[in-house]
């Protein structure tokens, strides 16, 4: 676009970034605070990290959340990919409008509504067929899959629409049956979108509080549920420590992903140069 950023825009950008990051940076700093009362500085200390590592509750919550997130991401990616494919490549089919609506609604639906509706659903289902008698791991996973797959579907749809049908037509022209076109051509090209969909679903699950709270049962505390119950009562330095670890882990992952993407772009550039460097 023409022209450099005006002063006004640069100021807004700086303020915005400061607004985003200062709270988190402070959070991290205070995790090293010796004092039990968070905002009062008592010197540098790692004691809260010790407390954290020794907490059984925390470890089991982390373990539960990771397991749920993993299973959720995998199933949500499969279902979301199928849904995205159907919406973009299958033309008109019966129920397409309803299907499309069900794929868009979870993106914006307030979580209390989805949480409530899934809970009453599970309870009614239990009345009817005796399952699920106990809520916890399974019900949370099912709930997460339900809304995650909408996010995956949107990602896949965006990628498919951008991809164009040329390659699939070429494959069909060369004799590949529609199913073969799907597996040999469409899915491989979809891989980056599938990966980012998986990561998105994973993060959403890891982060979900409200829906998990509704559909969980006694004893099944996910990490967000644990954190929430502790911070409702006020500031806690061990939560700061936990927050710091989480933020750092996620930042590193996102950084790695960004570097990988950057490397990919460089490789593409090299390919182009190789192609242009020769005369046909």
């Amino acid at each position: 676009m023409y022209g450099k950023r005006s002063r006004f825009l640069t100021i807004m950008l700086t303020l915005g970034l400061a607004f985003f990051y200062i709270p988190m940076i402070l959070l991290i700093i205070y995790s090293f605070n010796y004092s039990k009362i968070v905002p009062v500085w008592g010197g540098w200390s790692l004691r809260w990290y010790e407390v954290l590592f020794q907490s059984e509750e925390v470890w089991s919550a982390v373990s539960l959340s990771l397991q749920i997130a993993f299973i959720n991401a995998t199933f949500a990616t499969i279902l979301g990919a199928l849904a995205g494919l159907a919406m973009v490549r299958f033309g008109r089919f019966r129920g397409r409008t309803l299907f499309g609506g069900m794929l868009v609604a979870p993106l914006v639906m307030p979580e209390v509504i989805t949480g409530l509706s899934l809970l009453v659903f599970f309870i009614s289902l239990n009345e009817l067929v005796g399952w699920p008698a106990e809520r916890g791991f399974t019900t949370i996973t099912i709930a997460h899959i339900t809304f995650s797959m909408a996010f995956v579907a949107v990602t896949i749809q965006a990628r498919l629409t951008g991809m164009g049908e040329d390659l699939e037509e070429a494959a069909a022209d060369l004799g590949a049956k529609p199913f073969k076109v799907l597996t040999a051509i469409t899915l491989p090209r979809l891989t980056p979108a599938l990966i980012s969909g998986w990561l998105l679903a994973f993060t959403l699950s890891l982060d979900d509080l409200v829906i998990a709270s509704f559909v969980t049962g006694p004893g099944a505390n996910t990490l967000p549920i644990l954190i929430f119950s502790r911070i409702r009562l006020g500031l806690r330095p061990d939560i700061n420590a936990l927050a710091t670890i989480i933020i750092l882990v996620i930042s590193i992952c996102v950084l790695i992903a960004a570097i990988l993407m950057f490397r990919q772009q460089r490789a593409d550039l090299r390919d182009q140069q190789m192609a242009a460097g020769e005369n046909s």
Partner: protein
């Protein structure tokens, strides 16, 4: 084309009762209210290099896609090698297509791209290796077989696309604007290569293009298409020298048009009177005396000379040079006729101008004339 033809030059004439390879009968395609292809008929014979020529939106790509099986028909039928293609999906047709965008699979090497089609036919592995090798040699890309499409130049990708389509030895090869993405110099070179390959391999080609020069160079026969219908079908010579209509005469090359009335019609000549000149055509054509008719003349078929004396007689007109375009090889003279009409005349610059023989210049009085055999009579 150069070289000893391995395929007959005129397959549509040497038939011995042979049926055409492709029969398009009454084919129609509508998108909502828009008719893209309007009830067209066409026969294409084995060994032809047939071009569908037209501007954008004329329906040529749609027709090609219907042959390939990517668009359904709203009416009519397509028969390839005697088989009705009505319920035959794209992946079962004996056709292969070379896409305008080449559509090479980016996650596969050149080798794998070409092998793909053979794998779908369950061809034995050893045969696949041999055939891929042979076709790569034909398009001169053996050294690039391990590369991915992103690592190839435009011209190289085009050859891969061609190789991929040809390796399956289809009965019919469909090419959608095969040279459109290449720059001008490369395009000229590739035109000849393409025609040579077709001769060598003997496959029937159907090429869709908007470039007249391409169509003229490549085709054994061509069809000029406009608004979903065929305006004329014939060899390049037929279409250029004997166009059916003003549209075709103007679409291929350029032409000057005069409206006139037939004054004489006999078995060996026709005379037409126009505003500016009397036109004498030295062959018979069935026209009605007294009827209105259009006379067309190609700019290169008109001679132009300086003159001070006004001339008279059939097939000559006086004029004044209104504008000149110097193109190096040729010059285009825009000559203003007594009735105000401007006629384009092109003349090769065969020799350098000297003081004794200076070039014709602006505002000069000239006389233009033409051979009786050069006149094109058009009904429409």
């Amino acid at each position: 084309m150069t070289g000893a033809p391995t395929v007959s030059d005129t397959p549509w004439l040497d038939q011995d009762g042979q049926k055409p390879l492709v029969q398009i009968k009454g084919v129609t395609k509508k998108y909502g209210d828009v008719t893209a292809v309007d009830n067209v008929d066409l026969d294409i014979y084995q060994g032809e290099l047939f071009c569908l020529l037209g501007g954008s939106g004329c329906g040529k790509s749609t027709l090609l896609r219907m042959l390939a099986g990517f668009e359904s028909l709203n009416g009519g039928s397509i028969t390839i090698d005697g088989m009705d293609m009505a319920d035959v999906p794209a992946y079962e047709r004996p056709t292969n297509m070379m896409f305008q965008s080449y559509a090479l699979f980016p996650h596969m090497s050149v080798e794998k791209n070409i092998a793909f089609g053979l794998q779908q036919d369950r061809v034995p592995k050893n045969d696949i290796v041999d055939r891929v090798h042979d076709i790569l040699t034909l398009v001169e890309l053996q050294d690039f077989k391990k590369r991915k499409p992103q690592q190839l130049s435009g011209g190289q990708r085009q050859r891969v696309a061609l190789a991929r389509a040809l390796v399956k030895q289809p009965k019919l090869l469909l090419l959608d604007e095969p040279l459109a993405a290449l720059d001008k110099k490369l395009r000229k070179q590739t035109q000849f290569e393409l025609a040579n390959i077709q001769e060598k391999v003997g496959v029937t080609f159907i090429v869709v293009t908007h470039d007249q020069e391409e169509a003229m160079t490549l085709s054994s026969r061509m069809a000029v298409m406009d608004a979903g219908r065929f305006q004329q079908i014939g060899t390049p010579t037929e279409i250029y020298e004997f166009p059916d209509s003003r549209f075709v005469a103007d679409f291929i090359g350029s032409a000057n048009f005069f409206e006139g009335r037939v004054t004489e019609d006999s078995s060996d000549h026709v005379r037409v009177q126009t505003d500016v000149a009397e036109v004498y055509i030295d062959h018979g054509q069935s026209v009605l005396v007294g009827s209105k008719i259009w006379v067309a003349l190609r700019p290169e078929k008109i001679q132009i000379v300086k003159t001070d004396e006004p001339v008279s007689g059939p097939n000559t007109v006086n004029g004044v040079v209104d504008d000149i375009g110097y193109l190096g090889e040729t010059s285009i003279y825009k000559v203003a006729l007594p009735n105000g009409q401007i006629v384009d005349v092109t003349a090769p610059n065969q020799s350098r101008p000297t003081s004794e023989t200076p070039r014709i210049t602006w505002e000069e009085k000239v006389a233009i004339s033409w051979e009786p055999s050069s006149v094109m009579l058009l009904n429409a």
